[in-house]
């Protein structure tokens, strides 16, 4: 699969282990971006000419392909394009909190984008669901929190895979508990999408970004349960309506009503061929990911959570995490260190020191992980002399 990513041909000296932050880009995505900008740039939905029709076709084809990939019926009613997962989560939270008398329960392995939009909402209680020693959400604690909560409405916001834990949360059980308590469910699927195919039926909102799945920057998707179509858009504007008059307006009846303005068409037009590749390679991608997780667990002493997918986070004993990432960078190894946009959990498990994270993609090799382990040893040795 690696030969489908031009980055590695152009930069053979780089060991890229920061795919959880952003992945490298599939060749078809680069080609289709150029093709759109050089040959097809025009607007969707509103153009009366053939170029606009071409873009329209790509737009609807992209939604159709997402439907096939994720096993979703009527994707036109369920897929919203946006700027990325953070916008998707923000919009989901805006829609979900248009109610009175509600409490919020957030998985303790949350990314900041899943928690911050709740801060200005009118909740009765905001509580965090424990993460157990294996790095997954404690579903017994979730059930206990929901059972003891006296608010009329409940909202549960969780990640599918934690961006510091690399562990897979028990989504079927979370969904079944939430169904029992009639809770609205918001899922951050950034670290699972493209690696593990989940069944997302029954979740109210599922958000992800395409730049983490070998795709373009500036494009995300929010998958919604069709019942949310009854709501007015979070960002009303051009492209979200059928009719507007001076007093009233009629919004579109499909998910496009939540996409006012011109969408990121040069990114959307790359999705059909990207998704074809994902569908064709899904089994290989998932198997390769699992194999690398097992290999990383053998190579690195995480002192924290055993990886199940995508990434491994390490506690650093000597020196600061930042020193380690800079010295790894001096060896052309791209890693990530610090609070990883999950500050509360990282602080609690590292006493404020931060974590070092290596993360991989379909193109990553075992040799690259071995090289990182070897250089990490050398870096530790150098830092030990001074720390």
């Amino acid at each position: 699969m690696r030969n489908r990513f031009p980055f590695f041909k152009n930069n053979p000296e780089i060991t890229y282990l920061d795919s959880a932050a952003t992945s490298q880009t599939l060749d078809t995505v680069i080609e289709d971006t150029y093709n759109f900008l050089q040959n097809h740039k025009s607007n969707a939905h509103r153009s009366g000419h053939s170029m606009g029709a071409w873009v329209d076709n790509q737009y609807w084809l992209a939604k159709e392909k997402i439907g096939i990939w994720l096993g979703i019926h009527n994707p036109e009613n369920r897929i919203i394009f946006n700027s990325g997962a953070s916008q998707g989560l923000y919009d989901a939270i805006q829609l979900a909190t248009r109610i009175d008398d509600f409490s919020v329960f957030i998985g303790g392995d949350f990314h900041h984008s899943l928690s911050l939009p709740f801060k200005n909402t009118n909740y009765n209680e905001l509580k965090y669901i424990d993460v157990n020693n294996s790095g997954v959400i404690n579903t017994y604690h979730l059930e206990e929190l929901l059972r003891n909560d006296t608010s009329k409405n409940k909202i549960v916001a969780v990640t599918a895979v934690g961006n510091i834990t690399g562990t897979v949360n028990d989504l079927p059980r979370i969904r079944s508990i939430c169904e029992r308590y009639n809770a609205i469910t918001i899922l951050d699927a950034c670290q699972s999408m493209g690696k593990i195919l989940h069944n997302y039926d029954g979740f109210d909102f599922v958000s992800w970004s395409w730049h983490k799945i070998y795709g373009p920057n500036g494009l995300g998707c929010l998958l919604i349960d069709p019942k949310w179509l009854e709501h007015d858009p979070v960002h009303p504007g051009g492209g979200s309506v059928v009719h507007v008059n001076y007093e009233t307006q009629e919004y579109l009846s499909n998910a496009t009503k939540f996409e006012s303005g011109t969408p990121n068409l040069q990114a959307i037009c790359t999705l059909p061929r990207l998704i074809d590749w994902l569908i064709e390679n899904q089994n290989n991608i998932t198997a390769h990911d699992k194999e690398l997780a097992a290999f990383a667990n053998e190579l690195f002493d995480t002192k924290l959570f055993k990886s199940q997918t995508g990434l491994i986070s390490l506690k650093i004993e000597k020196g600061a995490v930042e020193d380690v990432t800079m010295l790894l960078d001096a060896n052309n190894i791209m890693s990530r260190g610090g609070n990883l946009c999950a500050e509360p959990l990282v602080k609690s498990v590292t006493n404020g020191k931060g974590l070092l994270r290596f993360s991989w993609g379909a193109y990553t090799t075992k040799q690259e992980l071995e090289y990182a382990a070897e250089k990490l040893g050398e870096v530790h040795e150098r830092i030990s002399r001074f720390a």
């Binding site: 020196g319 600061a320 995490v321 930042e322 020193d323 800079m326 010295l327 960078d329 001096a330 060896n331 610090g338 020191k353 931060g354 150098r382 830092i383 002399r385 001074f386 720390a387």
Partner: protein, 134 residues
Amino acid sequence: MKEFQDLHEDLFLLEDPMDKYEFIMEYGNQATSVQEFDTQEFELVPGCTSRLWLRYENKSFICQADSTIVKGIAGMICDWYNQATESQRQEFSLEKLNEIGLAPILSMGRQNGVANLIKRIKYMEYWGNKNPPK
């Protein structure tokens, strides 16, 4: 007193980034301005990706940091600044650091941190060891 970039021209001459970092870490270990002290919240320099504290006392700057590399960079700056003439101090900026080849090895976050350190030095020199306005 030499200019900052002349004082640290050795750093510029080192080609391997690992050697540059080693030079910086070694400097942090021997810098007179890097000292242990009971840090206060307001002494934390904002914008650094790891924690760096700066104190101004007896007309000298001392610093402390979690990161060995940050200790080295801050130590180089504070040591030089403590001995610099007034006109040298006035002219000191982030660019002077870049002239010794620091820019390519500093991430944008770290460059912001160093820029904030220089700002904080200049603020404290004028206003003393106190909390700058938000």
